[in-house]
């Protein structure tokens, strides 16, 4: 491999695209098709890691494709935050592919070729977002990501899936076109550039009211960050098959949202300007409200995936708060939380999917006593929960620690309390699930099909039988769960590389 870094950077975007061609060509041969996906994801992970190495050695890379309009170009570069995001996404793509093979096959989903192609397209878009050198490039790939995940959300093709897809596309596309695009155009109009630059691109003497308004437009416009009141798409997207929920709606799509917010806060506004804008405080409270409300709503959800979805909304609020705090510990906490939450949440979703596949259960109330049949899954679920809550020995501890430090540094006492309460709420809605699974007896059986979720209706036709024969999920899925769980623990023991990347964000380019 003697490719120059430039070529490798472009390959991260091109490889998933080429994968699509392969997937479509191998349409009727599932084994070859999945083989292509796996080898592509391994290759991608390899390339991203070597890019990471070159970043560590301090090389600067800039790739310029072409100008779409004068001064608006599609171009890419590597910086620590994007590197972090790309590493997570490419690593989890590999893991999720393993998981998806087990899941999709045992669930006998249709249209698997469409599924894998759109998945690869989404990954390509994520790479584009991660390595974009300016806001314009980022916006282009942001939209590609929205559109490419729409077929994944509506994968089942049922009325409910279409409904979910409509909400999904409606909110994401509307916010991005109505607010995000306007904010970009406004920024471009005021500053004349959209390049990401350390310390921001606004003049320090810019009209604070206008810049504040732009910030509001950005935060609302980046609908993928699911700040209330634009969070409805995330629960709606939970109709998608679990691998989609896992990778895209717990990791890639929402993380693309908060990643964009971080990018905008750090590289468009700059922390100094951000701290003095009149609207920052308002947005901080909004994000705080989002954290609290989503946690409360999550407690009331009986559908496991819906509960996890609201939990995600709440955790995204943490990251947004960290970005808006405009201090270095806030930014470090936020970027670390992108990683730790990704591992924690994907574990939880994998478990939810495994339970659905193996036990055909999607309601939390039905999962009592399940720990005896699926001990491994439930242990993984327990560890994932710990990571989300932020207690040792999991990676979530570090990121939450930095976020709390951020609130203390800036003397945002209310927000500090919000974060504490929310963590308590996390305990209240996550831990009872594994607890009841291990230490409670199943509720008296209700065998009517109406009590089970629609996803399982067709598969749970013979409920009695499946009740008796619950086993662990298929081995590829279990393996995936094992790896991500291990990831949660690993990030606690050895957070140094992650921390280094996060601190490098503010130092880069200076």
């Amino acid at each position: 491999m003697n490719f120059s870094i430039e070529v490798m950077l472009q390959l991260t975007i091109v490889i998933p695209l080429l994968t699509i061609v392969g997937i479509i060509l191998a349409n009727n041969r599932p084994n070859i098709r999945e083989g292509i996906t796996i080898s592509a994801s391994i290759l991608l992970l390899f390339i991203v890691t070597s890019l990471y190495q070159s970043l560590l050695s301090g090389k600067n890379v800039n790739v310029f494709w072409w100008d779409i309009m004068p001064n608006l170009s599609i171009s890419f570069s590597i910086e620590p935050l994007g590197m972090l995001f790309a590493l997570i996404a490419s690593f989890l793509w590999l893991i999720t592919t393993f998981y998806a093979i087990g899941y999709m096959r045992s669930h006998q989903e249709e249209n698997q070729t469409r599924f894998y192609s759109c998945f690869a397209l989404a990954i390509s878009a994520v790479m584009g977002i991660a390595f974009s050198d300016n806001l314009f490039t980022l916006f282009v790939f942001y939209e590609v990501l929205t559109l490419s995940t729409y077929p994944l959300v509506t994968h089942a093709g049922t009325e409910k899936a279409k409904q979910g897809g409509r909400v999904y596309l409606g909110i994401l596309l509307s916010t991005s076109i109505a607010f995000f695009l306007l904010a970009i155009a406004g920024t471009w109009f005021i500053t004349g550039t959209l390049d990401f630059k350390q310390g921001g691109i606004f003049n320090p003497d810019v009209d604070k009211a206008i810049a504040g308004a732009l910030l509001v437009l950005f935060i609302f416009g980046i609908g993928k960050a699911a700040i209330m009141p634009f969070h409805r798409w995330l629960p709606a997207a939970m109709v998608a098959p679990t691998p989609v929920s896992a990778l895209l709606h717990a990791v890639a799509v929402v993380k693309a949202g908060v990643f964009t917010i971080l990018k905008v806060c750090v590289f468009i506004f700059g922390l100094d300007l951000l701290a003095i804008l009149p609207t920052t405080q308002f947005l901080l409270y909004l994000a705080g409200a989002s954290v609290l409300l989503a946690s409360i709503v999550a407690m009331r959800q009986d559908n496991l995936k819906a509960r996890l979805a609201y939990s995600t909304i709440s955790q995204l609020g943490y990251i947004t708060i960290g970005a808006l705090l405009a201090t270095s510990s806030g930014v470090i906490g936020s970027s670390m939380h992108i990683a730790t939450h990704a591992f924690g949440k994907i574990t939880l979703f994998f478990c939810a999917g495994a339970i659905l596949v193996a036990a055909h259960k999607s309601k939390i109330s039905e999962m009592r006593g399940l720990g005896r049949q699926m001990p491994l899954t439930m242990i993984a679920f327990f560890i994932g929960s710990l990571s989300i809550i932020g207690v040792p020995p999991t990676g979530g501890t570090w990121s939450k620690w930095f976020l709390l430090m951020g609130t203390i540094e800036t003397e945002q006492w209310i927000l500090m309390v919000v974060l504490m309460i929310s963590s308590l709420l996390n305990i209240a809605y996550l831990l009872p699930i594994p607890f009841h699974a291990f230490f409670s007896n199943p509720l008296p059986e209700k065998h009517d099909a109406s009590s089970s979720n629609h996803e399982s209706v067709d598969l749970a036709s013979n409920v009695d039988q499946s009740q008796v024969q619950i086993k662990e999920a298929p081995w590829p899925s279990l393996l995936a769960i094992g790896i991500t769980t291990f990831g949660c623990l690993f990030l606690f023991i050895y957070p140094q590389p992650l921390f280094d990347l996060a601190t490098a964000i503010l130092a880069s380019g200076q």
Binding site: W66, I68, E143, R166, L173, A185, F189
Partner: protein, 492 residues
């Protein structure tokens, strides 16, 4: 030869039309029309090149010197429009023979091509001439052939739509005639260049105001500006598919060209936008048009109706761009003329392919088509995305420029409204996508095959152009901004 290009541009299709009568077989007629249109296209390319390098071309018809004789005056704006019209006409013609075999009785095929060529002649004539009365004559040539073309539609509602269009169109054209007459009365000239020099002397008279009002209302009738758009949806929906594809991309564009020509060149910027309240009026009508027409599009069940209403909404965007009366705004307008022509012709051609296979374009017949006609449906999806203004399509480029123009003016609320308006496009486009990809075919429907090759080639040519010019904007942007600058009298 090169020096006669401006007149050849109009003469070629005009002469080709009667020759069609001599060729009996409809295949031959088709090939010949395609050939004529392709020549017109080549001429327009040459003209554009010439104009971009060496400036305005003035051609005196019959050697009579302007302002007495008729002058054909090609500047950047005309050349750009000529290119759009002849290119779309040629591409659309590729599919014509296949499409009309299903939609028009055999004995009328020759007639169809003659009318098509005449209509093309009319449009090219309107754009290339520099004489105000000549505009009227060409306008009527293109309109009369348009009425007849629309009446060729299968459905009997085509007749009624054509009749309504005839009434509205004639009123519009006559209004323009009155306006031109009054201008002549005041200045004694019909040459546009001459008019623009003489009008300022008499600008503050009531007659000139009246002339202006008549011309603008007449042109707005033709370009289907809200609330003068009532003729358009039915005319587009019931005309033969080829005709719709051609007209949706070009007819309103020509009218917009006239509007630009009259407001900017003939009456002059300050008269049109400062002395008279055209700015506020255009802004208001444009915005209302966007919202009313887009909302109407959402509730249509005939897909051709959906996109016909969307055309009215797009005219709204174009008019909003004009109302800024800045160079950026005008650039956005001209870009959108080009881009919208690309999107709409592709979409309507794809709908033509659906008609070819299914016989109708009711939304319910689209159920499950995504599987049966994947390429055609993919074209509609991309065209629709372009209409919404998703990045990497042409729609985004013009929307971006429109936004910049509005922000330049400081019209933030308008910018927000424009973006909200484009959300309505998401809804009506997505109704079709959902039907095509996520609904089961109707129980009684017969499975159909992919559209024939002669449809797919032009459709995908246009779709490729949609994406290409969304990524590489150099050509369209350069010409549009050069044209806009020259209209403002700024030398680029």
């Amino acid at each position: 030869m090169i020096s006669h290009l401006p007149i050849l541009q109009v003469i070629v299709p005009l002469m080709a039309a009667p020759i069609c009568l001599l060729l009996k077989r409809s295949q031959l007629v088709w090939l010949f029309s395609l050939f004529a249109s392709a020549i017109a296209f080549i001429i327009s390319v040459l003209l554009l090149q010439q104009v971009m390098t060496s400036g305005v071309i003035s051609y005196e018809l019959g050697g009579w010197e302007a302002p007495w004789g008729i002058e054909y005056r090609i500047d950047k704006l005309n050349a750009f429009l000529l290119l759009i019209i002849s290119a779309i006409s040629t591409v659309v013609l590729i599919a014509a023979q296949t499409s009309i075999e299903k939609e028009i009785p055999k004995e009328k095929h020759t007639l169809f091509y003659i009318l098509y060529l005449l209509s093309l002649t009319g449009m090219l004539g309107i754009v290339s001439t520099g004489d105000a009365f000549n505009v009227f004559v060409f306008l009527e040539i293109s309109s009369l052939s348009a009425y007849a073309l629309i009446a060729l539609g299968q459905d009997r509602r085509a007749l009624w739509a054509s009749y309504q269009y005839l009434i509205m169109g004639t009123i519009g054209a006559t209004f323009i005639l009155i306006g031109i007459g009054l201008m002549y009365q005041m200045t004694g000239t019909l040459n546009m260049q001459d008019l623009s020099q003489r009008l300022p002397e008499v600008a503050q008279t009531r007659t000139v105001f009246t002339a202006f009002a008549f011309v603008i209302v007449g042109v707005c009738l033709k370009l289907a500006l809200f609330p003068l758009h009532l003729w358009l949806p039915n005319a587009y929906a019931y005309a033969p598919s080829i005709v719709t594809a051609f007209f949706a991309a070009t007819a309103t564009k020509v009218a917009i060209y006239l509007l630009i020509r009259f407001t900017f060149t003939v009456f002059g910027l300050s008269f049109s936008f400062t002395t008279l309240p055209l700015q506020g009026l255009f802004l208001l009508l444009g915005l209302t048009g966007i919202f009313v027409a887009s909302s109407a599009a959402i509730y249509q069940n005939n897909v051709k109706h959906v996109f016909a209403y969307s055309s009215i909404a797009q005219v709204g965007y174009i008019i909003v761009g004009l109302s800024t009366s800045t160079i950026t705004g005008l650039t956005a307008t001209l870009l959108h003329l080009f881009n919208h022509a690309l999107m709409k012709s592709a979409i309507f051609l794809a709908l033509g392919a659906v008609v070819y296979r299914l016989g109708n374009v009711q939304l319910s017949s689209f159920n499950g088509l995504g599987r049966q006609m994947p390429l055609t449906m993919a074209a509609i999806v991309i065209g629709g995305l372009s209409l919404i203004g998703v990045p990497l399509t042409v729609g985004f480029v013009s929307k971006w420029y429109l936004l910049t123009a509005l922000l330049e003016k400081g019209w933030w609320p308008v910018a927000i409204l424009i973006l909200l308006g484009s959300l309505l496009a998401v809804i009506y486009v997505w109704r079709i996508v959902e039907a095509a990809y996520f609904k089961k075919p109707l129980a009684d429907s017969v499975p159909v095959k992919e559209a024939p090759l002669f449809f797919l080639i032009p459709i995908w040519l246009l779709i490729t152009a949609n994406i290409y010019f969304g990524i590489d904007t150099r050509l369209s942007l350069q010409v549009a901004s050069a044209a806009a600058q020259s209209l403002f009298g700024v030398s680029p």
